[in-house]
Subunit: 303 residues, 2 copies
């Protein structure tokens, strides 16, 4: 099960009742956070989740509304007695920006591990999460993220027997380990059927629509995408500021045929994004004008 | 009239329903802000006040919970089309800390004017505010603030006539200007009675009790002081961490004989500070367990 919470849905500045856009996931005791503007730690508390187990923080880019909450979060994690290292991922400049902000969070009791992206696509394997970061199109270097929880094939005892895998090895092989016995190396694929559908979430904000986003979003159970502007007349603004309209996001969701589209990163001037959702549903029926702390528990399909 | 709003009352970390401690005042079209932790800009919006006219921001010290909201505030002020310079005041390190944080708030359309304190006491005269910063006793250099709105004496036409002040000069002299006429310089004191009581607010947080606080708080209409701990048994913690208990603050308020004491900067572990207010009132009857956005309009006394 993958818990996904869109902690906030605001762009540019936090508003009463609309925190800055940030995504948190929980899987198998390990949490991820994508972006953390000012106030993110409050929304985590409002949700009743904990920052303590956030093993990695991923940044789309370093505009203030996506990272201004970092020093406060790190201080609060320190207060919650975290001592395990925290991995940080993001575009070039990560170390410089985080170290500058940490002038007000000195002496943390855990290490920060910096991982700056060099390529158009980067892959991260972490605590059961398979994460792809991919470059999008904003006015500064900005990445989108796909979080994938793979699911192994079903145990196939016939196959195991046909491959002469000793029964003693079955349990460990089912957990995904290779096993050596009597000089023979057994691999999980020798006892498992074809890989099954995993869980997939794609998150993009602060970008024009791109082919890359459509490609990466394909097969996602959930596609979280900015809906900065609702009025189609704002498209010129969106192009100029390298953001997108709700309509453009819906068109990408339709092309990628995702499970659900959640809008986020609304302009402060967009007071009621739900008002526009009917039109968006004509483009993509499973579009949702998300509000702060919208949550879903994604489950593997029944066999 | 001096509007005073204690925007938040939390210490260490922002909580749902309890923003970090920050004070905002409005006088004669000019606003001041003392401290601005993460989320302060949201409480300003919740209050319905505006950041646009904040001409000066004063910092007690640079622990994260007192300054982490600065970059977001500056970005929002930029979005509200502020172009006038913003004056910043605080202990040594101000420029270094603010410039580091502003890595995520580049290209502001207004100037930041840095004013770092060198002395144990510093005086600031700004848009009708007479401000005193005075060193307190925390584990880093930390200042308290007294904000004073002076009030000139009442116009005394007898005195003006006795001093041979031409009637033409009376209006400008009443506004506080010196006036030169026919080679004679006239000063406001030549037409005004003795100075009248002004408005005074003292704000101290993150400190042990000190004699200096008591001295500066004397005559204050309002004394805003940390009440980090409620349980008298926490006094050892307070001494160690250079904070204070609600009881210690009440004792200072009683000695300074202030108009009212508002507690703030509660420890996150202090869930309901109001529960302790009855005991505090035995020490100082006008003690208030302030909540976020507690506001008062201080008025000059009737003549």
């Amino acid at each position: 099960m993958l818990d996904v919470c869109l902690l906030g849905t605001g762009g540019m500045m936090p508003l009463p009742g609309r925190a800055l856009t940030s995504l948190m996931t929980r899987f198998n005791g390990s949490s991820l956070l994508i972006d953390c503007g000012e106030g993110t730690q409050v929304t985590v508390r409002e949700k009743g989740w904990s920052m303590h187990d956030v093993d990695a923080m991923l940044f789309t880019h370093y505009h203030g509304d996506h990272i201004s909450g970092l020093p406060g979060i790190l201080l609060s994690m320190a207060n919650s007695d975290r001592t395990e290292p925290v991995k940080l991922y993001g575009p070039p400049g990560l170390r410089r920006v985080v170290n500058a902000l940490c002038i007000i969070a000195p002496g943390l009791p855990f290490e920060l591990e910096f991982n700056e992206f060099n390529d158009v696509e980067e892959y991260i394997s972490l605590n059961g999460y398979e994460i792809t970061a991919f470059k999008v199109n904003h006015n500064v270097t900005c990445y989108g993220y796909t979080i994938y929880i793979p699911r192994a094939g079903k145990f196939d005892p016939e196959k195991a027997k046909n491959n002469n895998v000793p029964m003693k090895a079955w349990n460990r092989l089912q957990k995904g380990d290779n096993v050596e016995m009597d000089g023979v190396i057994y691999t999980p694929d020798m006892i498992l059927g074809p890989k099954r559908k995993g869980l997939k979430v794609t998150y993009t904000t602060d970008t024009r629509p791109t082919e890359g986003i459509v490609e990466h979003a394909k097969g996602s159970d959930l596609f979280i995408c900015e809906g900065m502007y609702a009025d189609p007349e704002k498209r010129a603004d969106a192009i100029k500021k390298k953001h997108m309209t709700m309509q453009e996001a819906a068109e990408m969701a339709a092309r990628a045929d995702v499970g659900e589209l959640w809008y986020t990163h609304y302009s402060p001037s967009l007071v009621n994004p739900a008002r526009n959702i009917k039109e968006m549903k004509e483009i993509f029926p499973r579009a949702v004008a998300a509000k702060d702390r919208r949550t879903v528990e994604l489950m593997f399909e029944e066999d």
